[in-house]
C-alpha cells in the first residue's frame, strides 16, 4: 500500500465542509507557515522537497518560485491553473471536487511564500459545478479567518478569486491563461518575457497546477526533506494518476513514485488489469500529448529494465523508445483498439484547439487530421505516412507555444511504433473498415542488447 498525502482524507465523510476538514487536521500548514516561517523559508522547503510541476512539464516548483522577480512596489500574483483540459486527465477535477479545502490551504501557503495578495484560480468552463464548490470553500475560509486581511495576525493579506474559462484547451498554456484572465483572447504570448518577470497585468506571476499547489500542504506539514524521501531519484513525493481506457478500475489514484508500470496497471490496488480479459496493446502514459508506447516498451525500457512510474523512467530512451509522465493521464488501449483511429481522434482535437496564431500549428494540425482521416477510412496512400512524418517534424519546435509539439508528438510516436498498422490500413482499405489490425507483435518482448 503506497503512501497517500493528498487523497488520504478524501473519503472522510463531509471532508467537503470546513468543519470536517479542520477537524481532520486541515489548515495546519497555514498556521505553521504564517506563524513560524518566513516566505523564503517556505520557498526553501518546497525546493528541498524536490516537488516537480504536476501540470505536465515537470519543472521543479521551488526553482520556478525562486525565479519570480520581486521589484519594489509592484504586486505579484499567484495563479492556479485549473484549466485541466488534456484528454485523459481528470486528477485536478477530483481534487477540487472532493477536497477543495486542500487546494485553498495550499494556495494560502504558496501565496504567502510568493507574496501574492490576490490569487486566482483559473478553472475551465466545463467544470461549472466545481466553481460553486470552490467558492463555498473560499467563503468558509474567509469566515474562519484563513483569508482576508491580516491572516492569523501575521500582517499578510490574501484573497482568492475563481475565474471561469470558456472551454479552450489553449488557455491551459500559462501565458494564454494569463491573457484570458486579463479578459483578452486566449493567445499564448511570445516568450521571453516569462511570466516570472512579466505575467498577469505585466506583473511578476507564478502559474502552478492544482496538484502542485495542493502538494505544498504536506510539504510544509512534514517538511521538505520528509517529502523528498518518498519516490525515486528526482521524482519525489506522490503523484495523482488518472487512469482510463480499457482497464477494470478506471479512476484517480495517488501513487508514491516507487511502483512499476506493470504493478500500476495489473495490481488490484490500482487499475486492476485490462478489462474483459483482453490483452494490452498500447498505452499513453501521461495525457494525450505524450508519445504513445506499445505494450512491450511500456512495461520494459529498451535496455530491458522494468519501467517505473517515475518522471525519469517513463522518459527513459527519449522519444525513440520512451514517453513522458506528463500530466498523469494514463490511457490504456487493449488489442481491439485501432492506433490509427486513436491518432486521428487526437489530431482532430489538436486541430480544433489550436489557437490559430502561428502558421505551423494552425495549418499543420488541420493537414495532419485530413491525411489521418484518409488513412483511417481506407483512402490513404503509402506516401501519406511519410508526408505525415514530415509535417509533424516541421511543426515540432517551430511554434510559439507547446501546443504545436503536443500535436506533433502523438502522430510521430504512432508512426514510429505502429507503422505496420498504418501500412496495413493503406494496403487493405476494405478490410480495415470492418476489422482491426489487432495486437500483432506489439506485446512481443524486445530483444535486449547484450552489454558487457
Amino acid at each position: 500500500m503506497g503512501r497517500k498525502l493528498l487523497l488520504n482524507k478524501a473519503h472522510v465523510e463531509g471532508i467537503l465542509t470546513y468543519e470536517v476538514y479542520r477537524r481532520e487536521g486541515g489548515y495546519r500548514s497555514v498556521e505553521k507557515a504564517l506563524k513560524t516561517m518566513s516566505p523564503d523559508q517556505v520557498t526553501e522547503e518546497v525546493k528541498k522537497s524536490g516537488l516537480r510541476g504536476r501540470g505536465g512539464a515537470g519543472f521543479p516548483a521551488g526553482m520556478k518560485w525562486s525565479f519570480l522577480a520581486k521589484p519594489e512596489g509592484v504586486p505579484r500574483y499567484l495563479v492556479c491553473n485549473a484549466d485541466e483540459s488534456e484528454p485523459g486527465t481528470f486528477k485536478d477535477r477530483y481534487l477540487m471536487e472532493f477536497i477543495p479545502h486542500l487546494l485553498i490551504e495550499g494556495l494560502i501557503v504558496s501565496s504567502y511564500a510568493l507574496g501574492s495578495n490576490r490569487t486566482y484560480i483559473y478553472i475551465r468552463g466545463e467544470y461549472a459545478w466545481i466553481v460553486d464548490i470552490l467558492e463555498q470553500a473560499i467563503a468558509e475560509a474567509n469566515q474562519n479567518g484563513w483569508l482576508g486581511k491580516n491572516i492569523l495576525g501575521s500582517g499578510f493579506d490574501c484573497q482568492v478569486y475563481v475565474q471561469r474559462g470558456a472551454g479552450a484547451y489553449i488557455c491551459g498554456e500559462e501565458t494564454a491563461l494569463l491573457e484570458s484572465l486579463e479578459g483578452k483572447r486566449g493567445n499564448p504570448r511570445i516568450k521571453p518575457p516569462f511570466p516570472a518577470v512579466k505575467g498577469l497585468w505585466d506583473c511578476p506571476t507564478v502559474v502552478n497546477n492544482v496538484e502542485t499547489l495542493a502538494a505544498v500542504v504536506p510539504i510544509i506539514n512534514d517538511g521538505g526533506e520528509e517529502y523528498a524521501k518518498i519516490g525515486i531519484g528526482k521524482s519525489t513525493g506522490t503523484k495523482l494518476i488518472s487512469a482510463c481506457g480499457n482497464i477494470n478500475k478506471p479512476g484517480v489514484y495517488e501513487i508514491d513514485m516507487t511502483i512499476s508500470v506493470e504493478e500500476f496497471l495489473y495490481s488490484d490496488e490500482y487499475c486492476g488489469g485490462i478489462a474483459n480479459g483482453k490483452r494490452l496493446k498500447a498505452c499513453i502514459p501521461g495525457g494525450s500529448s505524450v508519445p504513445i508506447l506499445p505494450a512491450n516498451l511500456l512495461l520494459k525500457t529498451a535496455k530491458g529494465e522494468t519501467r517505473m512510474m517515475t518522471y525519469e523512467s517513463l522518459a527513459d530512451g527519449g522519444f525513440a523508445t520512451g514517453s513522458m509522465m506528463g500530466s498523469g493521464g494514463f490511457i490504456v488501449l487493449d488489442e481491439d483498439q485501432c492506433v490509427v483511429r486513436n491518432t486521428l481522434t487526437l489530431a482532430r482535437f489538436y486541430r480544433h484547439e489550436s489557437c490559430g496564431q502561428c502558421s505551423p500549428c494552425r495549418e499543420g494540425t488541420g493537414w495532419m487530421e485530413k491525411i489521418l482521416k484518409n488513412i483511417e477510412y481506407g483512402k490513404g496512400k503509402k506516401s501519406d505516412i511519410d508526408l505525415l512524418w514530415d509535417i509533424q517534424r516541421k511543426i515540432e519546435g517551430n511554434t510559439i507555444c507547446p501546443l504545436g509539439d503536443a500535436a506533433a508528438w502523438p502522430v510521430a510516436a504512432a508512426i514510429r511504433h505502429f507503422r505496420d498498422e498504418f501500412e496495413w490500413h493503406v494496403d487493405n482499405p476494405v478490410e480495415s473498415q470492418h476489422r482491426n489490425f489487432g495486437l500483432a507483435h506489439y506485446a512481443d518482448p524486445l530483444p535486449v542488447p547484450v552489454t558487457a
Binding site: G356, C358, E363, G366, K394, G397, N398, I400
Partner: protein, 373 residues
C-alpha cells in the same frame, strides 16, 4: 562626461556587426541587408507588439552570448528575440533554418487560394516574394482549401479572408492608429478569421492603412479594385498639406490618371508615414498634389520592370557570408543568350529596353536603328 553606450557585437551568417542593446536579431540582420535579412510576414517595425506569429523569420542561434555560449535548442523567431553580446546567429547558412522556412512557406500556402492572376496585390505581395524565394515549386496538399463567409467592410476596404495569413498586423494597426477598433480575429485555429463581429464597415480616419500593412491580398483598396495591375502603374512620390496626416504619399499613375494613392514604403515594404483616408481615397487628381519625383522601386519588384533609371542594386552579401569566396554560378545567362549582352549597362538605357538596344553593330559600321524615335 557622457557615458559611452556599450554596443553588442553579433555575428549573423559570418558577418559581424555592432548594434545597440535591445535590437532584435531581425533588425540587426536588416542592418547588414541583402540575403542575410530573414523574411518577415507578420513583424512590422512600426507596430508595437507585432511579430512572432508567422514563423518565417526563424533563425538558429549557434551561441547565445559571450557569457553563455550555449546554442539555443530551438529555432527562434528573430523578430522577437533580442541580440546578446557575442551572439552567433545562423540564417541562410543553417540547413535547419532553410528546412523550417520551407515548411512554413508550405503551411502558409496550403490554404491560400493562389488566385494571384485576379488578385490586386499581385506584384507587391510579400507572400509571392516569400514563396519564390523560400518555397518549393509543388504542393503536397491534396484537399479542398478553406473558405469563409464573406464580410463586407464598407465602401473602401475589400476583405478576401481566403488569402489571409493571420499576421494580425491590421489588428495592431487599428488598435494603435484609430480610436476604436471594430474588427479583430474571430474564432480559433484554422477557422479563425478577420472580421467585424456585427456586420460593420471600417470607417475610421486612418483605417485605410490596414491595406498598406497587409502583406497579402486579404485587405485591398476597393476604389482600386480590378482597375489595373500594379506593374503597369508608374509610382510617383507626392505630397500635400493635409490637416490630418503628413500627406507624404505615392501616387500610382497610368498615363495621366491617378489610379490609387498609397503611403510611401521603405525597402522592407513598410510604411514610412501613415496617411489618412482622405489622402488615400478622395484625392485622386494630379491637381491635389505636389509631385516630388519618381519613386525608387526596389529591384526585386516586378514594378521596376521597364524602369532602369535610378536603379538601385541590392546589397550583395554572398561573398562575405561564404567567407570571402565568390558564389559560383551554375549557369551564366550571358554565355548562352544571343540576345543579352553584358557589355551593355542596363542602367544607361533610357526607358524600357527594346531588342534593338542589344543588337550587335553591323559589320559595315552602321548603327542599329533606334525604334524610339
Amino acid at each position: 562626461m557622457a557615458e559611452e553606450k556599450k554596443l553588442f557585437k553579433v555575428t549573423i551568417d559570418n558577418i559581424t556587426i555592432e548594434v545597440e542593446p535591445g535590437t532584435s536579431i531581425l533588425n540587426a540582420a536588416r542592418m547588414i541587408g541583402g540575403d542575410v535579412a530573414p523574411p518577415a510576414m507578420c513583424y512590422y517595425s512600426k507596430l508595437k507588439g507585432s511579430g512572432g506569429k508567422c514563423r518565417t523569420c526563424l533563425v538558429e542561434v549557434a551561441a547565445g552570448s559571450t557569457a553563455d555560449p550555449r546554442p539555443m535548442p530551438k529555432l527562434v523567431a528573430s523578430c522577437r528575440t533580442n541580440v546578446m553580446d557575442g551572439m552567433v546567429v545562423k540564417n541562410i547558412t543553417s540547413e535547419r533554418v532553410i528546412d523550417a522556412r520551407n515548411g512554413v512557406v508550405e503551411f502558409l500556402l496550403i490554404n491560400h487560394p493562389l488566385d494571384c492572376p485576379i488578385c490586386d496585390q499581385a506584384g507587391e505581395c510579400h507572400l509571392q516574394d516569400l514563396s519564390y524565394e523560400h518555397g518549393k515549386e509543388g504542393t503536397r496538399y491534396e484537399f479542398g482549401r478553406r473558405t469563409f463567409h464573406k464580410h463586407d467592410l464598407g465602401p473602401y476596404i475589400q476583405l478576401h479572408m481566403t488569402r489571409c495569413i493571420l499576421c494580425y498586423r491590421c489588428v495592431f494597426t487599428a488598435d494603435q492608429l484609430t480610436n476604436k477598433r471594430v474588427h479583430g480575429v474571430l474564432d480559433r485555429g484554422d477557422h479563425s478569421e478577420i472580421a467585424t463581429y456585427i456586420e460593420k464597415s471600417l470607417d475610421n480616419d486612418f483605417i485605410g492603412n490596414v491595406i498598406d500593412v497587409c502583406p497579402v491580398g486579404a485587405l485591398t483598396d476597393k476604389t482600386f479594385r480590378f482597375k489595373n495591375r500594379v506593374w503597369f502603374l508608374k509610382p510617383v512620390d507626392a505630397h500635400r498639406d493635409c490637416p490630418k496626416c503628413k500627406g507624404h504619399v505615392t501616387l500610382w499613375y497610368r498615363g495621366d490618371e491617378v489610379f490609387r494613392v498609397t503611403a510611401r514604403k521603405d525597402q522592407w515594404g513598410e510604411v514610412e508615414d501613415w496617411i489618412c483616408n482622405e489622402c488615400r481615397f478622395e484625392k485622386k487628381k494630379t491637381s491635389d498634389w505636389v509631385i516630388d519625383g519618381p519613386t525608387n522601386v526596389n529591384r526585386h519588384s516586378v514594378i521596376s520592370q521597364g524602369q532602369y533609371l535610378g536603379l538601385k542594386m541590392p546589397t550583395e552579401v554572398m561573398p562575405e557570408v561564404m567567407g570571402g569566396r565568390q558564389p559560383r554560378l551554375l549557369m551564366d545567362i550571358h554565355s548562352v543568350s544571343e540576345v543579352n549582352r553584358k557589355d551593355i549597362d542596363l542602367s544607361k538605357i533610357e526607358g524600357p529596353a527594346h531588342s534593338t538596344d542589344f543588337e550587335k553593330p553591323r559589320p559595315n559600321g552602321q548603327q542599329a536603328i533606334d525604334n524610339n524615335q
